[in-house]
Symmetry: C2
Subunit: 362 residues, 2 copies
């Protein structure tokens, strides 16, 4: 198996940190070995720091970000519950679908792709449906490169409605303060700003989210994602649930170590800096920004210059230069790109490498 | 992070093949990169060979073996369906629980732990409940070390009832013939006889299982495990569903490569040979077999000799000798062990190493 080297500048996965690749080569331990449980505990502690939370129930779900999304909905929603979902891209849409499959009545608050959702509109929707059990929104929309403003939703803390936030693309890339913003449930992914390959989904739940889960009238529809059972393994009971994905946990432990050694503020500043460099340079080459509102530094969405063939140029970038950028979704399909600068890929060198290659192609 | 070296002789994970560890260090590719899709296709082709099937819908689920179990039930069962489950250990019990959460009415066929389920009893249960939509049974019970006889259940092919088999601990360790035995749905794990760390669950579905999935009256309750959506990514449509766990897929691809290079017959013979060596030697040291009926070569369950302290001796094995064996479950808890010889751990050296250490301890 000979695999070509790639500079990964799509919407994820990003390139893993070198320390993460080394972690994969460590001796495999069993999922009940005290030495492994120590690494698991340390991983959960590190996750609390990057999430900005003291939540006891903080752990990596054994699946990708979408498994984390599903874990949140199937544990927090019971059939017939009303759920408000903010939708301004693919991942808001996905939340609606996953919520429906968990039996929820979904109330959508839509905004145009490329725009942020005004948090007041979400609060107004809640005022009109105060019986909603959950309000869910994406922090960083991977399909459009837009940040939604979460902090004002803290107002939900004064109500019985839980706040659920998708931080797959935001975690460790832009500031996030789970406790300070009153977030009750949060899920993320490893393959974006954490600089770890895809395969795990960090999640965290506030005390009142845990109460909601404990007070369910029936078990969660998923056994694999049942947080009560998962808590018995990750917590002090150490009761076997499923065989933890040991190697991926080594990788996540290492990636979190890199992020925390750099420092969260420094990591955010690095993502902001390199994203700014790219977003300043692209218009000079004829690319126009797609995200006009609260653009993410770690994920830049752009319209291609007039006359540029999407598939052809992306293939040349990949084959000739070993660079991956992401295609557009929705309106942007075939007409725009999503360019990631996340985790280990978030370096000035990535920007100059891409711009240099583009200068020969467009 | 300094991780001690372990000889993994528990019920899984087993030690990964060296080629598998190397695969983790290969450059990361994106989940839509043609080079990665080629590896994914080759992985699915290799899975068909080890399963003994030509099923088009053969793929690795992005979670551990229990996620594969859940994928089978939530896609094949609709609320109110009757499901017959053979139960002679933890994993048969788990199937009942997962089936119930998918809305099934479960009819159990129980056998004592440590004994195999007489396949005629399963067929009789089916004769009494021919409307059952699914009959599910574990091939190799990881909790007891017993093999259930699957081949006679081929008779279900003449009925409308699908046959679902758990092959987590059997795949590549003992003969399995998915097509020849008329198995309609099968799931496995990577961390047993495939010699790959935990994290993926290979699954495969017959044409009539695919028809059942396509004919559902409502979508599967899980979006993450929805086989229709997964087939659109793994198949020719290449439609993005979730971000595939790239590194784990490299590892599985490599592990399957090792198994197929050795040859399935040779791999089975190796597991049989080393399991026999261990099972011949243990009684001489005072261990008594727990599985009296169809014992698995790759997983040996034994009662401890009189007066041996389970926790103390297992800790000494682990700390002083770097050897992991598994504790007992159910009746065997605290009184017996489960000793695995699977994948790369299935070597004569493992047997002599363990026996040598035990000779100093018991």
């Amino acid at each position: 198996m000979t695999i070509p080297d790639r500079l990964l500048m799509g919407p994820g996965p990003s390139n893993p940190y070198p320390e993460v690749v080394v972690a994969f080569t460590q001796p495999l331990l069993g999922h009940l070995d005290p030495e492994f449980l120590h690494i698991l505990d340390e991983t959960c502690a590190r996750l609390r720091t990057v999430f900005g939370t003291t939540n006891a129930l903080t752990l990596p779900i054994s699946g990708t970000g979408s498994a984390g999304m599903e874990a949140c909905f199937v544990n927090l929603v019971e059939p017939g519950d009303t759920v408000i979902v903010g939708v301004n891209g693919v991942f808001g849409e996905r939340m609606c679908e996953v919520a429906r499959r968990a039996g929820a009545e979904v109330l959508r608050v839509d905004a145009a792709w490329g725009e942020a959702i005004d948090p007041q509109r979400l609060l107004d929707a809640h005022a009109a449906a105060p019986h909603a059990r959950l309000l869910a929104v994406v922090h960083a929309e991977t399909s459009t490169g837009v940040e939604n403003h979460i902090e004002p939703l803290r107002a939900l803390q004064a109500t019985d409605t839980l706040l659920l936030v998708d931080t797959v693309t935001s975690l460790a890339g832009i500031p996030l303060d789970v406790d300070g913003w009153g977030i009750d449930a949060v899920y993320s992914g490893t393959q974006k700003c954490l600089g770890v390959p895809p395969g795990l989904s960090p999640v965290s739940f506030s005390a009142r989210a845990v109460d909601r889960i404990r007070g369910r009238s029936q078990p969660a529809q998923s056994w694999y994602l049942d947080l009560g059972l998962l808590a018995d393994y990750v917590g002090t009971a150490r009761r076997y649930h499923h065989t933890a994905p040991i190697s991926m946990l080594y990788a996540l432990h290492a990636g979190l170590g890199v992020v925390l050694e750099e420092g969260l503020d420094a990591a955010h500043a690095r993502h902001r800096h390199v994203g700014g460099l790219l977003q300043d340079a692209l218009p000079e080459m004829g690319f126009r920004p797609f995200a006009l509102d609260r653009p993410l530094p770690q994920l830049t969405s752009v319209w291609l210059p007039e006359g540029v063939d999407d598939a052809k140029v992306r293939a040349e970038l990949r084959v000739r230069f070993g660079i991956e950028v992401g295609g557009g979704l929705g309106e942007l399909a075939g007409k725009g790109w999503r360019i990631g600068l996340m985790g280990h890929s978030a370096r000035e060198r990535s920007v100059t490498t891409l711009l240099g290659a583009l200068a020969t192609l467009v």
